[in-house]
């Protein structure tokens, strides 16, 4: 009899589930629409049904499943296993998702923040494999974060740690949607990268981005990166601004938790090597040279799978370290 673990990645649109063996092999996958309107109990039903299908199709007995982990939008309470309030999961507020799924599956489990399970996925099986200390920046509309310190996820005292997009990198700097000024997110997120380009056009700078704006009515970070590749001067300045902001945050994080690796994730990493090479260039210019150790700055490797694989891996990790509670808790 082997040990198996269930990973669940809960999003506002779909819920992804996987089954992992204790050797780290993904032996089953499944998914279903989240159907938020049907409420959380219905979701638990659907996840349990997917688990049964996965077990049946891989001839694994239910008694071989040891634990599960759900990655959920938040804020959540890790200790209580409940969603506190998730913007795109109305009706799930204060629902004790961990306990309900645990009672249904008959095994103990844990509830984690979705950014944290994705970070754990990259740490365990992706770009951070082999490290003990890792930092992840997820570059989307906003900037999310994740941190592993000495082989463990950082939660913070109220489960709101690793909000790395809201480090202040410029005193009295650009206004962020969070209300602060000068946040990393207000410079280097996909939306603020596009916004800085728009502001430069409005200030009268000329660029091929003007044509993009006229044709499509808006500018995206993808447009900015494409025009930068094509040699547009303004687009290159904007990309450099994004990369320099990320590099500054990388220097600070290197001094704070001293990760071996910083992983860049999220939609904006479609820009690929153009992004990482510039972040590295600015990092090397900004970072002290008192020590010879280097830090890796690289792209995430698991894409959208990081969450579901990280969740299953985290269930395995907690099982191995004897940190799970009782069934139904």
């Amino acid at each position: 009899m082997k040990d198996y673990f269930v990973g669940v990645d809960l999003g506002g649109t779909n819920v992804e589930v996987c089954l992992l063996s204790d050797s780290g092999e993904v032996v089953g996958r499944g998914a279903a629409p989240t159907e938020v309107a049907l409420g959380p109990v219905s979701l638990v039903d659907r996840v349990a049904a997917i688990c049964q299908e996965m077990l049946a199709s891989s001839s694994i007995g239910v008694s071989e499943v040891r634990a599960f982990c759900i990655g959920s939008p938040g804020p959540i309470s890790v200790s209580e296993g409940k969603i506190i309030k998730a913007g795109n999961l109305p009706g799930f507020d204060n629902f004790r998702l961990r306990g309900e799924l645990s009672a249904r599956l008959g095994v103990p489990g844990l509830l984690e923040n979705d950014a944290n399970v994705a970070c754990w996925g990259e740490f365990w099986r992706g770009a951070g494999r082999g490290t003990t200390d890792m930092v992840m920046f997820t570059l989307g509309t906003g900037i999310g974060g994740g941190m592993v310190v000495a082989g463990e996820l950082v939660h913070g005292s109220e489960d709101n740690g690793a909000e790395l997009g809201h480090m202040i990198i410029v005193p009295k700097g650009r206004k962020c949607s969070c209300g602060q000024c000068g946040c990393l997110e207000a410079y280097a997120s996909a939306s603020h990268t596009a916004k800085r380009a728009m502001e430069a056009l409005q200030a009268g700078r000329s660029s091929v981005l003007e044509g993009v704006l006229q044709r499509s009515g808006t500018i995206t970070s993808k447009d900015v990166f494409e025009c930068a590749v094509a040699g547009d001067e303004l687009a290159n300045e904007v990309v450099d601004g994004t990369a320099a902001a990320l590099a500054q945050a990388c220097v600070s994080m290197r001094h704070i938790t001293e990760p071996q690796t910083v992983v860049l994730a999220g939609g904006m990493i479609n820009a690929g090597d153009m992004l990482t090479s510039r972040v590295k260039k600015f990092y090397n210019e900004m970072m002290w040279n008192l020590k010879s150790e280097t830090m890796e700055i690289c792209l995430a490797q698991l894409g959208a799978d990081a969450g579901v694989i990280g969740a299953a891996g985290l269930a395995l990790h907690h099982y191995q370290n004897d940190r799970l509670g009782a069934v139904g808790e």
Copy 2:
């Protein structure tokens, strides 16, 4: 028979030693000159002699001592228990201090960075008592740091973590002695607080600090704080600059590891409430208000004792968590 623990705080001038009971009571104290020129083996002799005296005078048997911890200037290797290179301990480079003292005392031990043991002292018995997550800024000539995350010290992947003075808070900002630009230390350390006042005078600003400079040939951060209390406009601007830089770092750290408490330590905290009240004011202005949780910003409570008490407390902590190696390792 009770359990006792030895704490050692190794400085370039003196070495302080204390004996701690398992209930956390300090039952013995001792000190000796470090006498760096006599080399590390001689130092081990002296520390062992102090331990014997402490045990004898408190009628505690050597068999009741369970572990020790030495706080040392660094960089050090925690895993190997050796000093790598300490500026004010020439001749101690690569000396396996942990193993030598362990063999002499006949109990296992650990070697820690001096900033970390002081941080642990404040966490365990001082201003951070009762928290799980704490950050400490030590404001002296430079700015040192310490971090406790989920009840454990943060070391970083190469034991150089928590170098909080070298977070970059201003892009292309003031030059720091480390070689970087815009470090927290280059704004808020005692030396840079004095330096910013000097620069303002040189730029032609008028202030009662001119008189101080003429009388004593220099300006210290103490002078700046005193003149600020007396109402001098420039001195108040400089103090505000120091407080705003610290507040910005506090906001970032709150988002990164989400401590319940930030502790300010080091010589500059003689400025007292003037410093903390301004840091808090700027922190409240800069910090988002998305969540209702608050963070404490306060002064260290143990003064120069933080190191030796923290070292002994850390020995106790590692003993209780069964994390010590073998004798002589």
